[in-house]
Assembly symmetry: C2
Homo-oligomer: 343 residues x 2
Amino acid sequence: MSELKNDLILKALRGETVSRPPVWMMRQAGRYLPDYIKLREKYDFFTRVQTPEIACEITLQPVDQVGVDAAILFSDILVIPQAMGMTVLLEENKGPLLPNVVKNKADIDALNTGDVEDRLGYVMKALGLIKNELNGRVPLIGFAGAPWTLLCYMVEGKGSKSFDKAKQFCFTQPELAHSLLQKITDITILYLKAQVNAGADLVQVFDSWSGMLSPADFKIFAQPYLLQISDAVSKHAPVILFPKGSWYALPELSKSSASGLGIDWSLTPAMAREMTNNSITLQGNYDPTKLLQPISTIKKEVKEMIDAFGVNRYIANLGHGILPNVPVDHARAFVDAVKEYGN
Amino acid sequence: MSELKNDLILKALRGETVSRPPVWMMRQAGRYLPDYIKLREKYDFFTRVQTPEIACEITLQPVDQVGVDAAILFSDILVIPQAMGMTVLLEENKGPLLPNVVKNKADIDALNTGDVEDRLGYVMKALGLIKNELNGRVPLIGFAGAPWTLLCYMVEGKGSKSFDKAKQFCFTQPELAHSLLQKITDITILYLKAQVNAGADLVQVFDSWSGMLSPADFKIFAQPYLLQISDAVSKHAPVILFPKGSWYALPELSKSSASGLGIDWSLTPAMAREMTNNSITLQGNYDPTKLLQPISTIKKEVKEMIDAFGVNRYIANLGHGILPNVPVDHARAFVDAVKEYGN
């Protein structure tokens, strides 16, 4: 493997001094890029995800075209429910659909937790290709969905504003919920370790729906599984946890084995630094809708954001995925503003 | 008007000592009650809202059948966009649809802000009927949507997970956004004052989508308008503000003219008391999904919730609307648990 020419994100995660923060954007490989849209017209979603050459090409697009400081594997968090044996349908411009939801113990018992390197072999092949194509230009981020968020989809069967069915399942059948969460955790640990073996330099765990839980329920249904994953995987590569909406968990998670915490825009940089006692690398938290503003406003706000977070122990990013209607030059302005910081 | 036999909620809002907290539930008049469902089968949504006799009957159902300490007018926050001249469609079990969204200055100029007592005369008639039927049993709550939340629907045209279009409108055309927010504020103040004149003993302002905004943007697009409403209406009746998801705003709002603040379950009672310096009445914050648990668990958790909030300056409630699939005896158990507190 080639030595990394740009290891800013790894330095930031180790808490080392940097000249400027690293920058990438959640969902940077995807729907706002014209070259991605061309591929979308030719291949359906899971063809793009499961064909290593296509996943590799999509992963590299924002590195080449937008200039981010890290590549993130093009994939989806629902490949894990799929690898566990569930049917996952993804229609373009619609949310995911899992027609056979988990309802009872038999459904959980039937879920597969092994063979991950075989069932998700296409991911490992994609990572190898990407690593080779990157040739050390920037680090490569692997990822997985957090157990709570995957349970949401596996029980609810689709996206939801409040995931009431998933929560009902947890609150009324907590033992079943925990056995499901543990199964997801077990396979996710295997999956992320395999990603690191295949070339991922760091990994991020997306708990996109943890904010649906109260602080008490987060500690029951989300946190223990996030920590299991972090403890197991951080021995092999730095781990970023992104419990979206769960600002209340930052104090405890800042003491975990994770190297970084993602935050959304529901709290200010100052609040996040205070809650984490300035002891861990933070990533975020620009409101993606703000990329629709004029470029001059974006540049001004990015500078203010870095001023507020500080240059060190910080990874500039959005607070959630980039929107499909963001012009490419606005995405580039976001990245450029970080690169120009301090000049 | 008859003297109130149960004025617990007014006492709680004035900060007076009470023997137990008052209790009501957001969306208590509605979809989980079999008698409501019977009316839904006979009359469409806006017939139920706009026919004072039907709105009165629905408003009284939870007082008679569940035993809450306050009635809340059966209506909808979208009657204001409707009164401003917009078309609002509400299909059963679907979200609202506003086919002609606000896009530009001409659309805003065309919106009506006067004649509210005429255009929403059916609400005032319903309040009079309800007040008469209540005969002083419990206080009557009036309500309106907050300007930011109404802007969300008026610009986006329907419900959304993130209201990106509404936010894009605000971030890219802030002057237009402020002129729209001011128009909504003006009519809302007239509307809430008219509700008080017609019999409402207190009012609640629902900012259901304020949590989509960062702390900085909340102060720009939500807070000034909430405060205008609170300042104007609190001269006539106590005001409860419910900025759902905007926990970060609690410190400042606790110093406002509002008598109470609603909170959701994303923060603990202790966090909310600390953020508000224990200086204002708090309302909430039971996770509605938890009403699907066994009755014994509900009763135990309600007791713990009151222990945590304290008996005074507290209104027991859910952190969001009751779910359609909650059994009536579970809703009753929630109310009973509050009434039995300390026995």
